[in-house]
Amino acid sequence: MIGSIVFLIIFILVIVYIIQPMLLEKDITIENTQSTTESFLQRKKILYKQIKELDMDYQLGNVLEQDYINTRNDLKREVSEVLSVLNKK
């Protein structure tokens, strides 16, 4: 008996919990933490990490100087593109 009462309470609570947002205004907006900005920040972080790794590989003697300069310039160009997008936001 107690079990069925507990289950009935759970059932009612679940239904109320789900239906409650439907009682809000139709044009409700959902809080958004600017996932696009976060994504560009993440891209920036990845590019920084790649530059750091490249620097390290160069220091360790795994990359020739010319390859190092070319790749680093490519990565820096990409970083500046990301930064310009972020500055506009």
């Binding site: 059932f11 679940v14 809000l24 959902i30 530059i51 590989d57 003697g61 795994n62 990359v63």
Partner: protein
Amino acid sequence: MIPVIGGLALNLALGLSIITIILLSFHLRTGDNRLYLSGQRAALAVSLVSFFATFVLAQLLLSSNFDVDYVAHYTSLETPTIYKLTALWAGQAGSLLFWLFILSIYGVVAILQNRRSQQKLMPWIMIVIATVQLFFLILVNFVSNPFVPTDADFILANGLGLNPLLQNATMVIHPPLLYLGYVGFTIPFAFSIAAMAQQEMNALWIKTIRTWILFVWLMLGIGIILGGWWAYQELGWGGYWAWDPVENASFMPWLTGTALLHSIMIQEKRNMLKVWNMTLIIITFTLCIFGTFLTRSGIMSSVHSFSASSVGPIFLGFVFLILIVSFSLLFYRRAFLYSGKRIESFSSRESGFLFNNVIFVVMCFAVFWGTLFPVISEAIRGTKITVGAPFFDQINIPIGLLLLLLTGVGPLLVWRRTSKQCAIRNFTIPVTVGLVTALILFLLKMRGYVLISFSLSSFVLTTIIIEFAKGIRSRMRSQHENMLIAFWRLMRKNRSRYGGYIVHIGIVLMFVGFTGHAFDSEKEFGLKVGEKEHLNNYQFELLRISEQERPNHYAWIADLRLQDSEGKTITILQPEKRIYFFRSPDPDRRQPHSELDIYNFLNSDIYSIFNGIDTDKGVAYFKIMINPLVSWVWIGGYIFVLGTLISLYPSRKETVI
């Protein structure tokens, strides 16, 4: 009453999963955010109600409520409490509910963690998770319900009890970890379907998915290693891997998951291989469902048991549904996924990773084919052709050695292009070490795979040690740090890279352990108290046999003195012969079981099995195995876990370039 509540909770969860899918689908059509919020709440509610149902079953098992068929089948009054709890995943119905339980945990974490940062993808992510939940809810509601009452007109005094093989400490954690791996791949799959459906796959998406993949891959890896450890400790045949279909079922998604971990890095760094990565995610997830199907359908024992099994066809149908829907979406979105970029050089890290991906997939296909061949042959020709360990060894040992080689080559390649000069400089010392090792082993009369495996292991270890040494030396020079601080900071600032190298060290040590199998030796003999036997340089003396009556079994315990060649006592081995359910009036119910005792050295294991006892003659029968290098499999496993944890640990600082 409580079992009825469990059943009702499963009904409610089923209804809620359907409501989730409907609400979120309408939100995607109409853009009405109220539907999104309700759908999100319904998705959370499915998980909460599934938790509730799982706790109800756990409570029934712990309280030995034999009114429930599942409880009566997998526990008895004598079953120790911890194993009553592990009975939750011992049978089909319970394990399907446990699958749902883990998926619900992952679902709640994925929703709460990403509901803001991945808002655009969330409706699709929740729909996919709810669909997989719905599938398992259909199974536990209508096909294999764990709350079905006992089919008896009388009250059961006791249950049948848990299989003795499952009454082992490893079995407490091995299945949950394996499930954490299997089930966890649902989340990257959901993210991938969402990304393709919404045509949004940004850097944040890659970061999220990579962390999930790494975590669930680790869980699956630990689960597989623990499975091997359990087989070694419990099954008494002296090995840890037998290419059994159930083992293969867990190994296949681990292989494609490993490939994915490497190729997702290429997507992260070069924005390439998106179609390939989507394909790998779909295949890995499908293999996880397929693995559950292999384990739970009974198909592997016989095709006929498959036809008799009710979950088999449903699982197979779901597998096909996943493949058709996912690959159709992939084809439909191919233009969005196409990056237009190409690998710049054959001697680049991208190229190395791609090559290792191909090898992993080939290995997975070989395992898949070997696993399913008996079923296919029986279905087509009516005769079952058994594919045993020799087939798998023949195919997979060369592939495995090729992967071992790539483990050493990968760290020496850099992104985009490795110049010829750098390649020659980096490869010279490791290749020389590998060749010198090969020469020494050749002179020691080692040949074939043993020689190749040890030589490649030395090559790979050298490459990794050199990478560490170069990094430490560079820091010592540029930052004026001492060696220990340089090592610590090198690791801390490059967790992903050096964590990966540590994983590779673990893999190499495991290969060393696998190779030790070539030197195994064994002997079977009978001894009376006071008698001795020899194997290799060891002597075994039976000191005494004692008997003990324990709560769930009766045991004969042998005291075997292990001595070295000089007669010095190393240890007293105590293998046991047990009879489970010994109080049962039905002799057929009594189950004999050999509990092993293993003495571990770093270079070999002494593995003792108490085969049986002739009480009339007073003779005890033993099997002793000497298994060289097995410890290195487990040491490698620990290092593998450590390396993955280092890679997983989030970095806090962002460096300004």
